[in-house]
């Protein structure tokens, strides 16, 4: 009886909490959704790289969780005057080496974006950039209604002197790079005390990536990690050492099939691409992952950015139309002729530290099989994947795109750009991109095959607080803080 009374008192006391402030200190171990190939903003493509860039660098603007563009390094919205946009840079911002971030650094960084093949589409309407005191002046080929949104994309982040970050990237972001150890699959970030938007609460953030399907869950299960994006335990029903809660972000990660040039006659053919598009049963991809929200899509734009909801028929495969498209392709591509099809074997590249991509690749292989085309899945390191895709040394590859979920222009632009298709860049060079025209061009060209938009769900120990996501589905690691002790999972009776 007394023990029960004590328990009630303890329970009541535990309920009495409040709105205290986040505390500083501590180290948290979390994860990235794969290996970052680079920490260079202009080369960042995958979710892991974009997450790192946001932690180490700053952009002129940023898009909040509600999809609203906010000044970040800029103090206000761009001041538009005829064909010029003037952006005043916040004073007092420091790089990690203690030097001031100036308008000259911003101008040099944007100039580098303008010349980088992977990201130049973002500023294709900008013909010149210069620093004028504390102001950056952009000369525009045409008015750009979404300039602030485009300048919020992580590829436009500011590096010192606009130079490529070296092995020890120097940014102005909330964390500085302590150690980048690709061999150990680990990135150690240290809090930057002088970050203009506030010091992160954590002293240190360790981000790991894993090359096994259950590696991350196992690490969380035994209490070795504070966060996990791939479940809480290696086996269904198993309990982790510490009690876990989860937070899910927006479905802002597009998983797609990209095309290489190893069998260029086949994979460059529009009818072949259309055939594979019809043969893919996107609804089946909903089960890939760790239970997070997955939205099948045939467009590279999420519903939140104005894309129509995919009808049930669009989620299923359409084999008759797939075979009809393949037959059309066979008229011009000899390798697709039914008599030669058995000899064709396509290679699908996947990144070895993104286990979910292998499952996706298996679905793509199944779709090819329905068309009578053999395939092989090859898992390679992230750097190898990036190099081989760049060289076109593959047939198909599984890729990721992440952008602010409501920014349609960013999605259209990056979907064309990642395939090396200049259509969006050309459109944006005259100021804006017509969405209907983009959808039509995309349907005709199929630079990539969008599969699903997926959310990121992160499980965290109960002592980890403040976890949220930005509009691109990147975890807000700078806002994380530790509070109290982790609650242990109750032992099974």
């Amino acid at each position: 009886m007394i023990a029960r009374g004590v328990l009630v008192v303890v329970a009541c006391t535990a309920l009495v909490h409040a709105e205290s402030r986040p505390r500083y200190g501590g180290s948290v171990e979390g994860s990235l959704l794969g290996a970052p190939v680079t920490l260079d903003p202009v080369l960042a493509q995958a979710h892991a790289e974009l997450t790192c860039v946001e932690l180490v660098f700053d952009t002129l603007y940023r898009i909040g969780p509600a999809g609203i563009v906010e000044p970040h390094l800029a103090i206000d919205a761009p001041q538009l005057d005829a064909n010029r946009a003037r952006i005043t840079i916040r004073s007092g911002v420091k790089f990690h080496d203690g030097t001031d971030l100036t308008a000259a650094d911003v101008a040099a960084s944007l100039e580098r974006v303008r010349t980088a093949p992977a990201s130049r589409w973002i500023v294709s309407a900008v013909s010149a950039v210069r620093a004028d005191g504390a102001v950056v002046e952009l000369t525009l080929k045409a008015p750009v209604p979404e300039l602030a949104t485009l300048l919020a994309l992580p590829q436009t982040a500011v590096t010192k002197g606009g130079k490529p970050p070296g092995e020890r990237p120097l940014g102005s972001g909330p964390f500085q790079v302590g150690a980048f150890e690709p061999r150990s699959k680990k990135l150690t970030l240290v809090a930057f005390d002088e970050h203009f938007a506030g010091r992160p609460y954590l002293d240190q953030l360790v981000l790991r990536w894993y090359d096994t399907h259950d590696g991350e869950a196992r690490q969380f299960e035994r209490g070795g990690a504070h966060l996990s994006a791939r479940g809480v335990a290696a086996f269904t029903g198993a309990q982790p050492k510490y009690r876990a809660e989860d937070v899910e972000g927006p479905a802002a990660l597009l998983v797609f099939v990209g095309f290489g040039r190893a069998h260029m006659d086949v994979t460059a053919d529009r009818n072949f691409r259309r055939s594979l598009d019809f043969a893919l049963a996107r609804g089946a991809l909903a089960s890939v992952g760790s239970g997070e929200r997955v939205t099948p899509s045939r467009l590279p734009v999420p519903v939140e950015a104005g894309a129509p909801v995919l009808e049930p028929a669009g989620r299923a495969d359409d084999l008759p139309r797939a075979k009809a498209a393949l037959a059309l392709a066979a008229k011009t591509v000899k390798a697709l002729d039914p008599t030669r099809l058995a000899a064709l074997k396509l290679e699908i590249l996947v990144e070895e530290t993104r286990p979910d991509d292998r499952e996706v690749a298996e679905r793509v292989a199944y779709a090819l099989n329905k068309l009578g085309i053999a395939s092989v899945i090859t898992a390679v390191p992230a750097t190898t994947l990036r190099d081989r895709v760049k060289r076109g040394d593959c047939d198909l590859w599984i890729g990721q795109l992440a952008a602010p979920v409501s920014a349609a222009t960013a999605w259209w632009g990056s979907a064309f750009a990642i395939a090396g298709d200049p259509w969006a860049e050309q459109q944006l060079s005259v100021g804006s991109l017509d969405r209907a025209a983009a959808a039509k061009a995309f349907g005709e060209r199929l630079p990539i095959l969008p599969l699903v938009f997926r959310a990121i769900r992160i499980w965290h120990r109960t002592d980890v607080r403040g976890l949220g996501f930005d509009a691109s589905g990147r975890p807000s690691y700078a806002d994380l803080f530790l509070f109290g002790d982790p609650a242990r999972t109750r032992a099974r009776p």
Binding site: H17, A18, E19, R21, R90, G92, E194, G198, R465
Partner: protein, 330 residues
């Protein structure tokens, strides 16, 4: 007569140290004699101590209204700055100061003044602020802005003037945030908030000066008892553990023992509570306690109807929300 002696004494006290010859203690003896004479004169004319008249307080939580502030609430206080005999509630958000009149079941806006000037660099990731009354002004400081905002009434208009950098935490006491962090002090000894009261009296009517300072996990309260002549001596210290950043000092029941009104010390987003603890009393039990699902973002005491009795008010919200519910507890 006394006034003339005081003026003469003050002049001598100011002038003598400069004139004094260190080899001759005549002037020092003269200064001591004048000082002693002044103290005797002051004590002979000491103001009469007025004992407080206790009132019966009925504790009951009532939701007064809901405020959509448009930005997160960072500080709250109350005072009768417009001199109409009724106190106003002042809410400080990351953007502005809003004055409200509290009616039994309604809260109405009296005026608002926006912060202006340069943004603070660096600013902490979570916006924090202070609200202190100095004379006829409310001095509001918010971590997002480089300077304070001094708010006062000009007739029926609430007006604001840019103030100094830093934060006025109590009349005559300023603090600065640790750069980029959400607290004062230093990184190893963070100071989260300070509240002061100099308008309370003990049971015998002696003026009290009460100061409460919240450091990491500890609310330390010092009480000074002042003589009728104004000389103050430390009278008591109290320490309470595990209370949150919203707290206030008052003597709601007017029995001469101040109360500290506190919130809980859990993480942002957790359920919260308001507790009233008489200083020196049992803080586990307290005089009153009420729980909320949201967090307590601010506590203030206000005489909203001008009857002389102070009411305890709390602003409660879901974490990060710009809408707060205003609760009255007595």
């Amino acid at each position: 007569m006394i006034r003339r002696a005081a003026v003469l004494g003050a002049v001598l006290l100011l002038a003598l140290p400069a004139l004094a010859d260190p080899r001759d203690d005549y002037f020092a003896r003269l200064a001591a004699a004048v000082r002693s004479g002044l103290e005797d004169a002051a004590s002979a004319r000491a103001p009469t101590l007025v004992r407080p008249v206790p009132i019966k307080v009925t504790w009951k939580a009532v939701r007064v209204g809901s405020l959509d502030l448009g930005a997160p609430l960072v500080a709250m206080t109350a005072a009768d700055l417009d001199r109409d005999g009724k106190g106003e509630l002042y809410a400080v958000t990351s953007r502005e100061v809003v004055a409200y009149a509290l009616e039994p079941r309604r809260v109405t806006v009296l005026g608002r003044v926006a912060f202006t000037g340069a943004p603070a660099v660096p600013a902490p990731r979570d916006v924090v602020g202070t609200a202190a009354i100095e004379g006829t002004e409310l001095v509001a400081g918010v971590s997002a802005w480089a300077t304070e905002l001094r708010v006062s009434w000009q007739g029926t208009a609430l007006v604001g003037q840019p103030g100094a950098p830093g934060f006025l935490v109590c009349p005559g006491e300023r603090a600065v945030l640790v750069p980029g962090r959400n607290h004062f002090g230093d990184p190893l000894a963070p100071l989260l908030g300070v509240r002061c009261r100099a308008d309370l009296v003990d049971a015998e009517g002696h003026p009290l000066r009460v100061r409460a300072a919240l450091t990491a996990g500890k609310l330390a309260i010092t009480v000074e008892r002042c003589s009728a002549s104004g000389a103050c001596q430390p009278a008591a210290t109290h320490e309470y553990k595990d209370y949150g950043v919203a707290f206030e000092l008052a003597d709601v029941d007017r029995n001469g023992t101040p109360e500290v009104i506190v919130s809980g010390a859990g993480a942002p987003g957790d359920p919260d509570a308001v507790k009233v603890i008489p200083l020196g009393g049992d803080d586990k039990k307290g005089a009153f306690r009420y729980r909320f699902n949201g967090g307590v973002a601010g506590i203030a005491v206000i005489d909203s109807d001008g009857d002389g009795a102070m009411e305890v008010i709390a602003a409660v919200r879901l974490v990060g929300a710009t809408r707060v519910d205003v609760w009255r507890f007595n």
